[in-house]
Symmetry: C2
Subunit: 287 residues, 2 copies
């Protein structure tokens, strides 16, 4: 089978959750070969080497790309947002030209079922596939975003999971356009990468079922209610592929809250053990 290409973008603060996400990916996708493309902000060589050993231990390959700051010389930055918010949207300009698609994942995600069906989704003429978070506040949020960003689509896509049509993106996504959009809207942008994604490309995103591919781990009861009881814990464990720990209350802070915290902590423990077993010296930080 063809290797599956993943994309992650981060600085070294996100290496610990990245290892947890990758551990869950590997455990739940036996028999798959993964190419992990990582666009990073100044992760030191030792950190790269450590992650490389961790990936090799699982039969995967790591492809690191340090973000070229020249590329972002004209990028507006403001408030507490850094240039790294652009990396996932400009990945098509950074990754090898031969790479036609990749699955971008935030590092605060657990992969709990096989990803191949998702990565083989027919993207047709869409630049991305992504999910909106369903729920009671969906319409309100949609309204708000329409006003805020003069945005015409029906919903608001979460940028934490994006299947990327890199081949097509190279034709349509231009850094200058992104920077101009940000410069124009900087006062309205709340979650810049997500707002840019929706504002500029919202109508070129293939909608995915969020209960499968971007399940908001805070909202078990919402999914259960909206599905009239079908999407209970058995359903989630059997069907959901990507469990997303959205929001500020990350499961690696403090005691586990929420139904899925124990699952995150279990994979964190597995990741920490593998880190120790692969003989790492750079970082032994645990959550």
């Amino acid at each position: 089978m063809e290797p599956i290409s993943l994309l992650v973008t981060l600085d070294q603060n996100y290496l610990p959750p990245l290892r947890v996400m990758l551990k869950s990916l590997f455990v739940n996708n036996p028999g798959e070969i993964f190419h992990i493309h990582m666009i990073h902000d100044a992760v030191p060589d030792k950190g790269i080497e450590q992650l490389d050993a961790y990936c090799r231990f699982h039969g995967a390959r790591l492809f690191p790309y340090e973000a070229d700051q020249n590329m972002f010389a004209g990028a507006p930055v403001f408030r507490y947002w850094s240039r790294s918010m652009y990396y996932r949207l400009l990945a098509c300009r950074i990754l090898p030209a031969a790479l036609e698609r990749a699955l971008y994942l935030d590092p605060d995600i657990l992969v709990i079922n096989p990803v191949r069906a998702l990565t083989e989704t027919d993207l047709r003429q869409h630049l991305f596939a992504g999910a909106m978070h369903s729920g009671f506040t969906g319409n309100l949020k949609g309204q708000l975003n329409r006003i805020r960003l003069a945005y015409e689509a029906d919903g608001y896509f979460n940028s934490g999971v994006l299947l990327m049509n890199l081949a097509l993106q190279r034709k349509f996504i231009r850094a200058e356009e992104l920077f101009a959009y940000v410069a124009k809207h900087k006062n309205e942008l709340l979650l810049p990468d997500q707002d840019i994604l929706n504002g500029l490309y919202g109508d070129r995103i293939l909608p995915l079922d969020d209960s499968l591919y971007n399940y908001d781990a805070r909202r078990f009861e919402t999914y259960l209610f909206l599905s009239m009881g079908e999407k209970n814990m058995d359903w989630v464990m059997t069907n959901t592929v990507l469990l997303h720990f959205c929001g500020k209350a990350k499961p690696w802070y403090g005691n586990s809250r929420g139904r899925f915290g124990v699952l995150f902590k279990h994979y964190a423990s597995l990741a920490n053990r593998t880190l120790a077993e692969t003989g790492s010296v750079y970082e032994t930080a645990k959550f």
Copy 2:
């Protein structure tokens, strides 16, 4: 490294939880080779073949032994207890004579950390190593058992996890003695295998820390309280090796209850997927 020998005893109704237990064992013990010794009650050949393929998929070997009913011809059975309650206590008479130790595990257990330190425990002159369930009711239960079974030890060992000193057991454990004990005490026995274990061999059991090796999944708050807050969820995920779903409310019934239900359901889903991938035809039952 030496292979690690496990013992399980069951009939075909327990094959689904056994697969979940084994999946958790394999995922959490990468690099180990397991020999799974299974004493069973009439599991059909196709069931054995299916489990054999499942074990091979994980690099493990299955050694099935159908319980010889002649051996149990003189065994008292009563109420709803069958002869299978004797299998773990008489395993030393059934397993190959060369096998000197094995770790017996109930199938309602999740293995969430490496088992090697446990399986290499120095048993000295003990027949078993096992754990009592610590907690507020410990002493009361101890009192009750002293009265009920004229049992002099300080506590009551749970029989769900037993590290077995098979070499020494062959010198000291005799079927006739077990059967005589049961015949004499049949009116007092509540949990026969456990009562026999404690009544006959309670003073030959090396105590293990239950929070590590037989954590009662119903009692997170008890462990947390008794440890003055130390044994929180991070501690459990990092240190506990065997998580035991004691009691009647098994996590495979109905909706997940308790903090650890989601972990069981996740491993059940992993086990079901592997069952499908190993091309099984005998049984596709899910929880």
